[in-house]
Amino acid sequence: MNKIRVIARIDVKNEHVIKGIHLEGLRKVGNPNELAKKYYENSIDEIVLMDAVAAYYDRNSLSEIIQKACEEVFIPITVGGGIRKIEDIQIALNAGADKIAINTQSINTPEFITEATKIFGSQCIVSSIVAKKISDNKWEAYTDNGREPTGKDVVEWAKTVEKLGAGEIMLTSIDKEGTKKGFDIELNKAVSEAVSIPIISSGGMKNSDDALELLLNTNVDAIATASTLHYKLESISDIKQKLTLNGIKVRV
């Protein structure tokens, strides 16, 4: 079995780390560079930096934060939010990002994923899928950080982005996001069974019990959490220890 990655998700608005519930009601919780460095030193496996407001202001302003983070953080960094053009990807990569998460632009222009993977490689392009449950075992994809419905079925869209060339999927449940009530197991099961690219699961984790429930019941490859770490609900080493004790392989 592959090692499961434990990822810190850091949502940023105007140089501050913010956290909301269902991606709304955003509160400041810290400085992105301080948190990134702290999580790195506490052996997090990867960091996701998301510009929480870029999508509807049509800009991406994370460059300085990425540049600074890369001087102290020697693990993979994924950057997303407001990526609209090939040039936006190039700027984020030049700043030091390893992977780029794309949502809104790919819904508007699906070929953007293919174009980006041809230039930067599949390993560089993460499709960010934001899902809202609409009925039993049915979810709709949302854009603009969970504001705009698209009419697209999440499982079908996941298959499409795989075909378009995306190297990974970051799957966020709006219903669970920020609630600390656990992952949407059915959603993660449905998507991870539909595609064969790695899935990063995001939204709803309070502690390792939630991670364990997800990992024992689905075939996802990574868990991303914000609340657990920002609100110090459980340490990274305690999460990893709990997973290891239950037969889930992680980086030690």
């Binding site: 052996s43 890369c70 020697f74 993979p76 930067f120 790695p198 490859d221």
Partner: protein
């Protein structure tokens, strides 16, 4: 001491630059032949498609420069795509010729078990010592089964097993995760993204360059 990171517009060089700075060296980013040939150590980074990487090496006339440099037996390290391009050829998309400094070819990572056969292989994974011992190499004082960060779909299939410095297991398949042939090194994983272990590997490379000057 002068370390050059080859700049040919393929992938993220800033992380590599920062990793060297972290271990106390300020490398030069360059694609200039004189600059490269006068270096004490050279890094060939790179991510993405093999053909695109070779195309850019050719665009900057770097193929002969790299061959001239490695002929001097000064330390050289290719990382990820930079390691794969050291081989004779790759089967990615279409057959493409590589630098031919290491005998073998680049093939798709074979996967077997349905539930875990995901590609690309994006994961922290363990490196294991084989015939070639790690002391006096870039893996000096690195513990067996240390975790390093991988992101790739293709692997190097070497002709000469003595040039395999470490292997890694994925989906029941054991592949070559680092290479050593004289002073030519290769890492399929990303040392610049592998936390403290990765920084130690980079520091080991720097020390090999220092000793080579003496």
């Amino acid at each position: 001491m002068k370390i050059v990171i080859i700049d040919y517009d393929v992938g993220n060089v800033r992380s590599m630059l920062n990793a060297f700075k972290k271990v106390g060296v300020n490398p030069i980013l360059s694609n200039n032949e004189e600059e490269i040939l006068s270096a004490d150590g050279v890094i060939l980074p790179g991510v993405g498609a093999f053909a695109h990487g070779m195309e850019n090496l050719n665009k900057y006339n770097l193929v002969n420069t790299i061959k001239k440099y490695t002929n001097t037996n000064k330390p050289f390290m290719g990382v990820c795509l930079g390691m794969q391009m050291l081989l004779d050829e790759s089967e990615e998309f279409s057959q493409t010729k590589g630098l031919g400094l290491i005998s073998g070819k680049v093939i798709k990572l074979p996967t077997k078990n349905k539930s875990h056969e995901k590609l690309p292989h994006v994961s922290w994974n363990e490196i294991i010592e084989k015939r070639t011992k790690w002391n006096n190499t870039i893996l000096k004082n690195i513990e067996q089964q240390s975790d390093v960060y991988f992101v790739h779909s293709f692997i190097t299939d070497l002709k000469n097993e003595d040039e395999v410095l470490s292997t890694t297991q994925y989906s029941n398949y054991e592949f070559c995760s680092s290479i050593k042939k004289d002073n030519i090194y290769g890492c399929q994983f990303h040392p610049e993204k592998s936390g403290e272990i990765g920084l130690r590997i980079i520091e080991n490379f720097v020390n090999i360059c220092k000793e080579n000057i003496k």
